[in-house]
C-alpha cells in the first residue's frame, strides 16, 4: 500500500476540524437564534396586565395569558404529584431488587419503550381512557397525560441515580441491622437525593412545555381554570398553538410570542439552576 501524501492527510484533517466547528456553530447558533427571536418578539408585549389578566377573544381590551399560565402550573404540579411516588417506587425496585431478574429487565424495557412513545399517542390514550368515558375534556385528563409522560423518565432516572450509590454503603447499613426498607430510604435514597431532585425538576420543566398530549385532553378555554374535573383548562403551550396557527391577527401572534417568552424563560431557568446546583454538589 503506497502511503498517501502527508499534505492530503493534513488537509482532510483540517476539513474535519472545520466541519466540527461549523456544526457546533449551527447547533448553538440555531438555539441562539430561536431564543433571540422569542425575546425580541415577546418582550414588547409583556407587562403587568399581560401576566395577570385572563385571555380573551380577539379585539377585547385587557387580554392576557394568566389563565393559561395558571393552568400550566396546576397541570404540571398535579402531574408531578401523580407521577413521582410510583416512579420512585418503580426506580427503587429496578435498582435495589431487580439487578439480575428477567422480570425487572422486561419492566426496564417497558419503561424505555414508554419513553420513546410519541407524546401525542399518550394524548390519544388518555382521550380514550378518560375523555370518552367521562364525556368531557378536563384539566384532570391533561394532568394524567402529563403524568404518564413523566412516569417512565423519572423511573429510569431514579434507577440510574440509585445505582451510582456505592454498594459498600448498602452493605454497611445492612450490617448494622437495618431493614432493607430503612437502608433504601434512609441511606441510599438520601445520599442520592441531589440526583433525584435534578431528575424530577428537569422532567417537570420538560412536561410543562408539552403541547401534543394536551390538545385533546385539556383542550383550551378563555376562562380561569374552574372545575378541574369537568371543564377544559387553558395551558400556555396550547394557547401559543391556538394564537399562532389559528389566528390571522398580528396582536394574537404577539401575545403568542409573549407567552412563549414566559414559558421559555421558566424552563431555561429551571434547567440552568438545577444543572448548576447539581454540578456544585458533585464536587
Amino acid at each position: 500500500m503506497t502511503p498517501r501524501p502527508v499534505i492530503y492527510r493534513k488537509a482532510a484533517n483540517q476539513l474535519l476540524n472545520l466541519l466540527a466547528v461549523a456544526s457546533i456553530c449551527i447547533a448553538l447558533g440555531g438555539m441562539g437564534w430561536i431564543l433571540y427571536t422569542v425575546i425580541c418578539n415577546g418582550a414588547p408585549v409583556i407587562n403587568w396586565e399581560f401576566i395577570t389578566s385572563p385571555s380573551k377573544p380577539h379585539g377585547e381590551p385587557g387580554a392576557g395569558v394568566a389563565n393559561a399560565l395558571l393552568g400550566t402550573l396546576i397541570m404540571t404540579i398535579g402531574a408531578t404529584v401523580m407521577a413521582v411516588p410510583p416512579a420512585l417506587a418503580g426506580g427503587i425496585y429496578l435498582a435495589e431488587f431487580g439487578k439480575n431478574s428477567k422480570f425487572a429487565d422486561m419492566l426496564r424495557f417497558c419503561a424505555n419503550v414508554m419513553m420513546g412513545v410519541p407524546s401525542i399517542l399518550i394524548g390519544l390514550f388518555v382521550y380514550a381512557l378518560i375523555v370518552i368515558p367521562s364525556g368531557n375534556f378536563s384539566g384532570m385528563a391533561g394532568t394524567i397525560a402529563l403524568a404518564i409522560i413523566m412516569f417512565p423518565v423519572i423511573m429510569r432516572i431514579t434507577e440510574d441515580v440509585l445505582l451510582m450509590v456505592p454498594d459498600t454503603l448498602r452493605e454497611s447499613a445492612l450490617a448494622l441491622g437495618m431493614s432493607r426498607m430503612r437502608t433504601t430510604l434512609d441511606i441510599v435514597a438520601r445520599s442520592a437525593r441531589n440526583g433525584l431532585a435534578t431528575g424530577i425538576l428537569l422532567s417537570l420543566a420538560r412536561v410543562s412545555g408539552e403541547t401534543a398530549p394536551l390538545l385533546f385532553t385539556a383542550l383550551f378555554a378563555d376562562t380561569w381554570p374552574g372545575s378541574f374535573f369537568s371543564e377544559p383548562t387553558a395551558s400556555a403551550p396550547v394557547l401559543i398553538t391556538e394564537y399562532t396557527t389559528n389566528s390571522p391577527f398580528e396582536s394574537m401572534h404577539a401575545m403568542g410570542w409573549g407567552a412563549a417568552l414566559v414559558m421559555a424563560g421558566f424552563i431555561l431557568i429551571i434547567n440552568i439552576v438545577t444543572r448548576c446546583l447539581f454540578h456544585e454538589n458533585q464536587h
Binding site: 457546533i24 420513546g116 390519544l124 380514550a128 431493614s179
Partner: protein
C-alpha cells in the same frame, strides 16, 4: 421487620409494573378504538391515499410517507451534525466541553411549540425567499435529472413543506443523538486512541479507524434514538408542514405526517374518521416500538462500556 420489607418490595414492584400496564393499556386502547377502521378497510388502509370525511374513505399512505420523508430528511441533516458536535465536545479541554455540552443539552429543553413558532415565523419565509430558490436555481438542482422529482414540478415552494419540517426536526433531534454519541466516543479506551496518535495518525484517521470502529454500535443506537424522536414529533412539524393530505410530491411540497394529522383532526373527528385516526396512531405506535427495539438492541451491546450500569 420481615413483613415491612416484603411489603416495601411489593409496593416498589407495583410501581415498576405500572410501566408494563401503561404500555399494554396504550396498545390495547389504540387497538380497541381502531377496530372499526380495520374492519371497514382492512389492511388496504395502509396504502390507501384518500382522506375524505364526506364519503368516509380513509387511507394512511400520505401520512405514512410524510412521516418517513420528514424523518429521513432530518436524519440526513442531523447525523453528520451531531457526529461532528459530539466529536468536538469529547476532544476539547474540560473547561470548554462542560459548558458546550450543557448548551447542547439545553437545545432539548426548549419546548417543541417554540421550535414550531420559530419555524413558522422565521424559517418558512427564509426558506421561501432564499433557500429554496438557491437550491433550485443557483445550484441548478432542478435541471439535473431527477431534480423535478426531488424538488417538485416547478422547483418553487411556498416555504412550508417537508424540507422545512426536516430542518426543524434536525435541530430538535440533534441533542438526543449528540448525547449518546458523546458517551460512545468517551468510552474508547484512551490507550487505543493514544497509540493511534503515537503512530502518527491525524485526528480524522483516529476518529475513522479507532473511535468509530470501536463504538459503531452505540452510534447506530444513537441514530435510532434520534429517529424515534423525529418520527413522533408533533408540534414543530404541525406548524411548518402545510397540512395537505396528499402524497409527497417533492421536498418543497406541502404534506402531512401521522402526528400532525392526529393533532389537526382528532378533536373534531367522530365515528369512522375517529377510528381511522386511532388506526393511524396505532401505526405510529408500532413504528416507534420497532425503532425502540432496534435502539435497545444496539445500545445494550455497548451499555456496560458506556458506563450505563445494568
Amino acid at each position: 421487620m420481615q413483613h415491612t420489607d416484603t411489603l416495601f418490595r411489593t409496593i416498589c414492584q407495583a410501581g415498576a409494573v405500572l410501566a408494563l400496564l401503561l404500555i399494554a393499556g396504550i396498545f390495547g386502547q389504540l387497538c380497541i378504538h381502531s377496530a372499526d377502521a380495520w374492519q371497514h378497510f382492512g389492511l388496504p388502509f395502509l396504502w390507501g391515499s384518500n382522506w375524505d370525511p364526506a364519503v368516509d374513505d380513509y387511507g394512511a399512505l400520505p401520512h405514512l410517507l410524510g412521516t418517513l420523508l420528514t424523518t429521513l430528511i432530518s436524519l440526513l441533516l442531523a447525523v453528520p451534525l451531531s457526529f461532528a458536535v459530539a466529536l468536538l465536545i469529547t476532544e476539547t479541554p474540560d473547561w470548554l466541553n462542560r459548558p458546550l455540552s450543557h448548551c447542547v443539552d439545553l437545545l432539548a429543553a426548549i419546548p417543541s411549540v417554540i421550535y414550531g413558532m420559530w419555524g413558522l415565523f422565521v424559517l418558512v419565509p427564509l426558506m421561501q425567499d432564499y433557500v429554496q430558490p438557491f437550491l433550485s436555481e443557483t445550484l441548478g438542482l432542478i435541471y439535473l435529472p431527477g431534480g423535478a422529482w426531488l424538488l417538485g414540478e416547478d422547483g418553487f415552494g411556498c416555504g412550508f413543506g417537508f424540507l422545512s419540517a426536516g430542518v426543524i426536526l434536525a435541530l430538535m433531534v440533534l441533542p438526543y443523538m449528540c448525547a449518546v454519541m458523546r458517551d460512545v466516543f468517551r468510552m474508547t479506551p484512551p490507550m487505543l486512541r493514544e497509540s493511534a496518535y503515537g503512530l502518527g495518525c491525524t485526528r480524522l484517521e483516529v476518529t475513522r479507524d479507532v473511535v468509530v470502529r470501536y463504538g459503531i454500535r452505540g452510534i447506530i443506537g444513537g441514530i435510532f434514538i434520534g429517529m424515534g424522536r423525529a418520527l413522533g414529533e408533533t408540534m414543530a412539524v404541525l406548524f411548518v408542514i402545510g397540512n395537505l393530505m396528499e402524497n409527497p410530491a417533492g421536498l418543497y411540497s406541502c404534506g402531512t405526517t401521522i402526528a400532525a394529522t392526529l393533532a389537526n383532526n382528532f378533536a373534531e373527528a367522530t365515528g369512522l374518521q375517529q377510528s381511522a385516526l386511532f388506526a393511524l396512531g396505532l401505526v405510529l405506535l408500532l413504528l416507534s416500538f420497532g425503532i425502540q427495539l432496534i435502539t435497545r438492541y444496539y445500545l445494550s451491546l455497548t451499555a456496560s462500556k458506556r458506563g450505563e450500569k445494568h
